[in-house]
């Protein structure tokens, strides 16, 4: 890399590089559902006019569309975050039996360290589970190159291919040499029920095919272009003192910590090449396997009869780093028993401490924005002291102080099903206090079927759909009820209230959450006894969608009237700081949503005031 002229290269995020790779490979159809750290793949793909790009309602649909495209003869990719693959697992596990016509790539962006996720599952296991090859790039150049090559691999072996990224690949930038778009050979659709209609009798015929396919892939892995051995000149020609098997982002950490050590770099993360690894192992005195999260490669290597040092010294939780890898090896070789105590948060090089350490700094948790419509909903739910089953989105932040408004958050769409279960299991008094909250995008993703369940089984279930008109948390992507598509073009807008009604709900009411009285009345009504679900659609656009169209007005405080009750401060609005016992309006942040004025019992806060010239505190 340094020998060429990096200035001629583009600096791309791993996600941009994956999109570029798909485009260069001649992809016809690209699908996905937004989810950190995968979102920018589809967003960048929307910049390539030759590709049909869609935000799908959820990952299962995204993969099914991609499978259809592949059958129809177009190279296709479905892009999602790690937990999205769980949603798509049903088609994935059987698409593995069917194989492909044109190349099919499933991109899984995993999130070690859970920067923006509810778990840190290691999706390399999906490769073993589904008997699919898994490619794992280590930087943006490889992200681009591997994506291009993945389609040829998919077609050569008649298999879907998983391309696994992680946050430090997807959201890291490095120089990329790009290529041009190739038009892959035509693969006209051919009717083939034995291969594409997975009746039991057909699937039984396919099973041995895929068992053998992964064996062929294992043989292919022995010499495939995705793996390589790096044997630096400084490490000697005979047997080296230590050597590393690694891949993905962990490869970068190993090279950084041990620049002189031999490395077997795995780009094909599954299946592994047993003979090549055994040969490498024979040339090093001590063999390490360095992988983020699970002991996936370690397990495979042990099954192949190798005895690497792995998770006994490297942490299985959180992200690795060059320092974590380096320190673990050094301690191990010095004979210090460390087990897995070296947590990822422990400073690698302890900062110099003054004699008396200063007090810890206040944390800065993420918060709902000033003017966020969700805050109004949480204010009412908290006021009514309800048990709130939650879901995935910005509104999950309602669980944090001072709103403290959520009781659960598990996965996309879980809020409504959990509310049904709680209603059925809890004593009547407690059950009557249960309510589900779910965002508009999440409702379309997987909230509809549990709502149908509540209606069908007559479970009295109160639900608030917090409809801010966008997939806000991941950066305002469109969805079927937003009114625009992945390219930002206008599209037919799913009518949420009509859909809810068609599910057989007892009632559905649309309110603006900033109309607190109407919202409270609607929530109270939804909680009344009765058969089946009652739904409140709290509809107000995400405040960030309206940025720049504000009135320029702010809320102002009448200090004389303020009784220092703190009701406004308990809204957790970043535009209200505490000054003594009174609120202080941060004029540069306030968008005059008026919520604090509405909750003030004495009318000390009033909206519609002119913005002061020099914007107060804040930024």
């Amino acid at each position: 890399m340094p020998e060429s002229t990096p200035a001629s290269k583009a600096l791309l995020y791993g996600n941009e590089a994956i999109a570029r790779g798909g485009w260069e490979a001649g992809v016809t159809v690209a699908t996905g559902y937004p989810g950190t750290p995968s979102t920018e793949i589809i967003e960048s793909m929307a910049g390539y006019d030759e590709v049909y790009v869609e935000w799908s309602p959820n990952e299962k649909v995204a993969l099914e569309v991609a499978i259809g495209a592949s059958l129809g003869g177009g190279r296709a990719m479905a892009c999602m975050k790690h937990v999205g693959v769980n949603v798509a697992a049903d088609p994935l596990l059987t698409a593995a039996y069917m194989g492909v016509n044109a190349g099919l790539v499933v991109v899984s962006a995993d999130d070690p360290g859970m920067h923006s996720s509810q778990n840190e599952q290691d999706n390399r296991w999906y490769g073993k589970f589904a008997r699919l090859p898994v490619l794992e790039p280590a930087d943006s150049q490889e992200a681009k190159d591997f994506t291009v090559m993945a389609f040829a691999l998919s077609e050569e072996f008649d298999t879907p291919v998983i391309l696994r990224s992680t946050t430090r690949i997807s959201h890291a930038r490095s120089p990329v040499e790009t290529g041009e778009r190739a038009e892959p050979p035509a693969r006209p659709y051919r009717k083939d029920p034995l291969k594409n209609v997975m009746l039991p009798g057909h699937a039984r015929l396919r099973k041995p095919v895929i068992v053998n396919r992964i064996r062929y892939l294992e043989r292919y892995a022995e010499t495939c272009p995705f793996n390589r051995v790096e044997w630096p000149a400084g490490s000697g020609r005979g047997v080296a003192r230590r050597g590393f098997v690694t891949g993905g982002i962990a490869y970068q950490y190993v090279r950084e910590a041990f620049p002189e050590a031999p490395v077997f770099k795995l780009g094909l993360a599954y299946p592994l090449p047993p003979a090549a690894l055994a040969h490498f192992a024979s040339r090093v005195e001590r063999l390490y396997v360095v992988e983020e999260l699970d002991a996936f490669w370690e397990t495979e290597m042990r099954m192949a009869g190798l005895e690497p040092v792995g998770k006994e010294i490297f942490p299985a939780a959180g992200e690795l780093s060059a320092a974590i890898v380096g320190r673990a090896v050094e301690r191990f070789e010095a004979g210090v028993s460390e087990a897995t105590a070296a947590g990822p948060d422990e400073p690698a090089v302890p900062a110099e401490r003054p004699e008396t350490p200063p007090p810890p700094l206040p944390t800065r948790p993420p918060v709902l924005c000033p003017g966020c419509p969700h805050r109004a909903v949480f204010h009412i739910l908290r006021k009514l002291r309800l048990t709130v089953t939650g879901d995935i989105g910005c509104y999950t932040l309602g669980a944090l102080p001072p709103l403290n408004s959520l009781d659960t958050c598990t996965c996309m769409g879980a809020s409504i099903g959990q509310a049904i279960g709680m209603r059925r299991a809890m004593p009547p008094g407690d059950a009557a206090k249960v309510i589900a909250v779910i965002g508009d995008s999440t409702f379309v993703h997987s909230g509809i079927t549990p709502l149908i369940d509540a209606a069908y089984n007559r479970t009295p279930t109160a639900v608030v759909i917090m409809d801010n008109g966008t997939t806000a948390m991941t950066g305002h992507q469109g969805h079927p009820a937003s009114g625009w598509d992945a390219r930002g073009r206008e599209s037919p807008r799913l009518q949420i209230e009509r859909l809810v009604e068609a599910c057989g709900t007892r009632s559905v009411e649309v309110v603006d959450p900033f109309d607190l009285q109407a919202l409270e009345a609607a929530v109270r009504k939804a909680l009344e006894p009765g058969d089946g679900p009652a739904v409140v659609v709290a509809r107000h656009p995400c405040v960030l969608l309206k940025r720049g169209r504000g009135t320029g007005l702010v809320v102002a405080l009448d200090e004389e009237l303020c009784t220092e009750c703190g009701a406004c401060l308990r809204l957790g609005c970043p535009a209200l700081a505490r000054s003594g016992r009174k609120p202080e309006v941060q004029a540069s942040l306030c968008v005059d949503c008026g919520l604090c004025a509405a909750v003030c019992p004495v009318g000390a806060l009033s909206g519609g005031s002119p913005r002061p010239e020099s914007g107060g505190g804040g930024r």
């Binding site: 890399m1 340094p2 990096p6 200035a7 600096l11 950190t36 750290p37 979102t39 920067h115 923006s116 930087d139 946050t167 430090r168 959201h171 890291a172 930038r173 490095s174 120089p175 982002i249 970068q252 950490y253 090279r255 950084e256 992200e319 780093s321 060059a322 320092a323 400073p347 090089v349 900062a351 110099e352 003054p354 200063p358 007090p359 700094l361 206040p362 944390t363 800065r364 948790p365 993420p366 918060v367 709902l368 924005c369 910005c394 944090l400 102080p401 001072p402 948390m473 991941t474 950066g475 401060l569 957790g572 970043p574 700081a577 505490r578 016992r581 914007g615 505190g617 804040g618 930024r619």
Partner: protein, 193 residues
């Protein structure tokens, strides 16, 4: 000191990711290998945003380990202080003096620390605290405070200011180029004086 590993510390929405992009483009234009690493999503809803820029003949890890950053570019003073464990001995801190109260402070559960300037000066080989908010407001828009800070940091890099001009011009919206360049030079003056 040659700045190779730079931590950018900010609050979501302040433009920390733009500053990261400018630094990376600058180093790439200077003919070096570059990597950046960021975290998107949850962290950007008013939370701490920490990003890394690394350059050199060949860069492996996109992540900066604690104790190895040559410089911290802070867009908010509490976040600059929070990033101090990343700083190497004798490292440079350039930070805006802007203060944004995090929720525990806004709720009055904890005070906004008053000793941050001292902490920064004690830990850094050189600490420059830039009134970037005021400077930016005087120029015409407090949103360019991030570029004011980049201007101050530029005094510590070997790159020609015209190269900085070119990368900033390529990174910001076209109609804000002039404003951003004024912010850059105002900041640079604070770094060289």
């Amino acid at each position: 000191m040659r700045l190779e590993n730079i931590v950018v510390a900010s609050v979501g929405g302040q433009g920390g990711l733009l500053a990261t992009r400018v630094l990376a483009a600058l180093f790439l234009a200077g003919g070096e290998d570059v990597k950046t690493s960021e975290v998107h999503g949850m962290a950007q809803r008013g939370g701490t945003v920490l990003s890394f820029v690394r350059r050199g003949r060949r860069v492996f890890s996109p992540v900066i380990d604690q104790g190895t950053a040559d410089a911290i570019l802070g867009l908010e003073v509490l976040e600059a202080a929070r990033a101090l464990p990343y700083l190497s001995a004798g490292g440079v801190v350039v930070t805006s003096t802007q203060r944004i109260a995090p929720v525990p402070v806004a709720l009055g559960q904890e005070p906004y620390p008053q000793d941050l300037d001292a902490r920064l000066r004690r830990a850094a080989g050189r600490a420059i605290l830039v009134p970037a908010g005021e400077v930016a407001a005087k120029i015409g828009n407090s949103r360019v405070a991030n570029v004011v800070c980049l201007g101050t940091l530029s005094a510590f890099t070997e790159h020609d200011p015209r190269l900085w001009e070119a990368v900033i011009s390529g990174a910001v919206p076209p109609r804000t180029v002039e404003l951003n360049l004024r912010a850059f030079y105002a900041g640079r003056e604070l770094g060289t004086s």
